[in-house]
Symmetry: C2
Subunit: 492 residues, 2 copies
Amino acid sequence: MATQSYKKLVEHYQSIDNFEHLRAICSWDQATFMPSGGADSRAEAMAELAVHLHKLHTAPHLAELFELAKDENLDTTQQASVKEMHRTWQLQTVLPAELVKAKSLAGAKCEHQWRIQRQENDWHGFLKNFEPVVALSQEEAQIRASSSRMTPYDAMLDIYEPGMCSTQLNQLFGDVATWLPQMIQTAAQDYSPNHTAQYPVEQQELLAHELMALLGFNFNHGRLDTSVHPFCGGTSQDTRITTRYGESEFVNAMMGVIHETGHACYEQNLPQSLAKLPVGKARSMAIHESQSLFYEMQIARSPEFIALLSDRASHYFPKYAAINKTQNLIAQLQRVEPSLIRVDADEVTYPAHVILRYEIERDLINGDIQSKDIPQLWDLKMSQLLGISTKDNYKDGCMQDIHWTDGSFGYFPSYTLGAMYAAQFKHTMAKTINIPQQINSRDLKPIYDWLNTQIWQKASLLSTQDLMVQATGTGLDVSIFKSHLQHRYCKA
Amino acid sequence: MATQSYKKLVEHYQSIDNFEHLRAICSWDQATFMPSGGADSRAEAMAELAVHLHKLHTAPHLAELFELAKDENLDTTQQASVKEMHRTWQLQTVLPAELVKAKSLAGAKCEHQWRIQRQENDWHGFLKNFEPVVALSQEEAQIRASSSRMTPYDAMLDIYEPGMCSTQLNQLFGDVATWLPQMIQTAAQDYSPNHTAQYPVEQQELLAHELMALLGFNFNHGRLDTSVHPFCGGTSQDTRITTRYGESEFVNAMMGVIHETGHACYEQNLPQSLAKLPVGKARSMAIHESQSLFYEMQIARSPEFIALLSDRASHYFPKYAAINKTQNLIAQLQRVEPSLIRVDADEVTYPAHVILRYEIERDLINGDIQSKDIPQLWDLKMSQLLGISTKDNYKDGCMQDIHWTDGSFGYFPSYTLGAMYAAQFKHTMAKTINIPQQINSRDLKPIYDWLNTQIWQKASLLSTQDLMVQATGTGLDVSIFKSHLQHRYCKA
């Protein structure tokens, strides 16, 4: 048969996906319902599963199957499928097992101690564990680069954003850096709510479910729970999102739910016939983030949606209807204010946090700077981009994120690329759909149908570049993101 | 090293246990939180895991390791450990793969159609699917028997109750059958609550958690959730129990919680150093059931505990304090009434349901009767034991249970053996602990400490016979069970 090797590859990757399913559900359980005393034995079970998955990903017979599949008579989808399997295989097999193990151990140690050291603002203690992580990540980057003719940093970036490179990022982020500091100054405004309120969690949950339904979440294939850090997990057929509730405030929990619903709708609407294969997965981290940010930033922080939110809040929290008037929620949801912490940043200042991290991690992985240089660079770039000093404040400066502690270099750009992609999708969608009117009439179906057709159903069948060109007529265009921010935040 | 093969066996069975951990958590999720649309992909993932576990259980190098371990210098615990590994290995490897597959397919088909056929009282439709299940189970029983010199039925019984045999069961159950019908007549009484009430589920949950804490459940290593069929799942370090709540009634949900808490405390208190090995697991199905029935029957249906329950009910449901007076709850919880359905049966009539199933499945597997004879035998035995006819009523007669549909012959005796063991544990415990007084003072610690020392910590280190002798001074003694029933139900 002409596609025999391809079929064997399909079987193998479907089998991998079955074990990934178990990992996804048990990880979700770990973050939501597992009692703390279950942690040790869960860690052992997950480690065993990771070893098994690694074995499957690096099975010796795969190399031959990929060779044989080259000569088979495959259709376009099958070719794209093999391409993504091969990419997965390369990412998993290129590193020597000892390096994987050494990085995993160094990363676990660094991350573990970071949780205390950050609280204690202990940069020098952290540096001792961090330097080996950087050294091993540099080694990883060089090995990945040598097999792919990229720069070391680009090889790391490629794990999360296939097709993206630092030449393009330098251009995109360099452009943003020229106008963002001025825009932040223009848009910045004080926001200080001076009221106290009590929002019962049960009511917040009802509102969250209503918003999820409005945004197209399929409750037959997913659920909402609570966890310390909100996330979207589970599988395409059973997508689990979480949020966290505070009683004095409901807006943050709702924005979290809306953000994760964006991720979830992407997962739920991946093409089911390809669901268990690499080609049937989300295109990249940035495209994933573009979907969550499309919902959170492009839709949910628009004046029309905020008006809708205000109305629903008055239904669920009638006591605080005055506090939650549209104009008050706009003041809260569209405030701009330079701050130290990335995860708390608003839509305008967020890119500054990402650009500075990108510049530092790029130079670090390429060997152009050293770990010990980071605090000074951080302080300098924070001052330039946001006008804030972080001198001697490592805790709220270069030690605030978990990403670098285990060597996840190359991930940060995805956040701001996602914001840019989201703005571009919105820009194109607005040519054929009256988005404000759809929100006003509380019918978001045309909006998520567009996303479904243009992005969700495409999974990894196209490169990110082709996906963007087919959906929006052009590659990533940073001027659209700039216009979006100007339009929303620089009205005066 | 003198224990090299033993150590390899330990590693192998610990690895199996890690995958069993994933299976336990995902099964729990399936019964509690999984949205219905997730069922298909979950089934695929679980099937993949089952195949993987079968591979591990039947790994070719195990035979040699068991041979080598025989000559190693093992201590008593290690010897018991190898014995239980070997038992597990034999149970898994003795059957040819084709038979396992054929039985699995026939069982799945029979069970699937049974769900409809039972509703439609369609015995003849059921019989068509059931006969192949019986034939394959007979084949299984013969293969298991031939490798162990037992009768075919005893070989099936041995899966669930190692050490038990039908000679002993005939004696035990034969004894019960001589006095039970008369006792049922003496004890039977009408019970018909004639009130309506509304018990909010949130309050029932609070009461359930209080009762679990009282009974020694460790919430750091487990949790309570809801499911259609109550069960105890998860792992020893993370034990998940469930119940189901009705709003018009709270007593059944509480009895379910108490029953599952008995299972859970056994699991939570298995010796942690052996937790991942066969020797560290619960001794048998009957001993497991003895722990749930100890809590439910010996403790929770005692007058002292019912008084306690009445008091706590008046706290959580003050509106219905009069309805839930001790005497009313006693009337409900100690009622005796012959009925058609095993799972709804009371403590006195339950053994009758088990004895008739035992006699039928024993003769069926040994080839002494045929599947088509079952309805007539069922009707006869129901008349003899409970004075109820099931003629032409297959639905509430021989088609009521799921056990036989997939060929789980040999399981039913565990229920009544468990009740007998529980009565015997209570009898011994009462010699050194004033159980009514402990319940009255709401301090159950001496009670569960006794169970912990005598049973839970013993795991599978001893045979059931040795466990009983060490805990109670004698093997199973049915007269203690009889006295217990007489004392509670035949006071007049």
